[in-house]
């Protein structure tokens, strides 16, 4: 009797594992069929996020410890390397000084053309002046 009881008990103790083995394929099949996107769509994510104690989470993060882990020197070096500061200084100063002067030059060149047209009309000439180098 004792022996039979013992073996029965042993079988019973392994029963859950066997059941799980039997059921697992079915569950897998069910999970495979669930449209996860649809599920996610149905979840009230904003409400869930609202519920998260973000303030508390942030309070728990030790920002100083985080910063201590970052090598600031290397970071600064990389930023400076990535940003070509001399080029920025060059281009900004050049455009400040250059734009005004170039605008004046373009303006006087336009006046040159206007004056040439007027004089040529007075002199009863036709066609534009020949101003290209290499043709003189």
């Amino acid at each position: 009797v004792n022996v039979r009881t013992a073996s029965l008990l042993r079988e019973l103790s392994t029963a859950p594992a066997r059941v799980a083995e039997l059921v697992a394929p079915f569950i897998d099949a069910v999970v495979e069929r669930i449209d996860l996107e649809l599920l996610v769509d149905r979840l009230p994510i904003e409400k869930l996020v609202d519920r998260l104690p973000i303030e508390q989470i942030i309070e728990r993060v030790d920002i100083n410890a985080l910063l201590a882990r970052i090598d600031m020197d290397v970071l600064a070096q990389r930023v400076i390397e990535a940003v070509d500061i001399p080029a920025i200084v060059r281009s900004s100063t050049r455009s400040m000084v250059g734009d005004g002067a170039d605008a004046v030059r373009a303006q006087t060149a336009a006046l040159d053309e206007g004056a040439a047209r007027s004089f040529d009309r007075i002199l009863r000439r036709r066609g534009p002046r020949d101003v290209a180098m290499g043709s003189a």
Partner: protein
């Protein structure tokens, strides 16, 4: 719209580079150079007056040179100024301001010393007449350009040849 307008203006300016300049730019550049030459003359005049007064008991008086001295010294300063600028970079400060450069008719910049001197003498003496000639020239050449084999081109943007 602004960017498009700027691009159009830029394209126009680029097209102008290397073509012979007209009378307005050249006249304005000449006026700037004339003003600079006159400034040098006035400074020189005062320098001479101060140096003269140094060894004496006299005060420094406003210098009043004879008219012929003024003309000769002004022409001499102008010739030196123009010759130096054109043989070196091909542009005087006035040319620089209006984006001009003096080149040979073949287009090479940096005149030889002799050519620069000849052009400097002509400009300092008959400069105005030369520019009047330019007004009627179909090829935008002044009288001194014709005689010296030179031209003045727009050159304020570096354009790849």
């Amino acid at each position: 719209v602004n960017a498009v307008a700027t691009d159009g203006r830029q394209a126009r300016a680029v097209r102008l580079q290397g073509t012979r300049a007209g009378v307005v730019s050249r006249l304005l550049a000449a006026l700037v150079d004339a003003a600079l030459v006159f400034l040098v003359y006035v400074i020189a005049l005062w320098a001479v007056a101060i140096v003269r007064a140094l060894g004496t008991e006299h005060h420094v008086h406003q210098p009043q040179p004879d008219r012929w001295v003024t003309v000769v010294v002004l022409v001499a300063i102008a010739v030196a100024y123009l010759t130096a600028a054109w043989s070196a970079s091909g542009r005087t400060p006035g040319d620089q301001l209006f984006g001009l450069r003096v080149v040979t008719l073949k287009g090479t910049s940096g005149l030889s010393g002799r050519r620069a001197l000849a052009r400097g003498v002509l400009c300092a003496t008959l400069g105005w007449l030369g520019l009047v000639w330019l007004v009627g020239s179909r090829r935008n050449l002044a009288l001194h350009d014709r005689w010296c084999g030179t031209a003045v081109v727009y050159e304020w943007i570096a354009v790849e040849p």
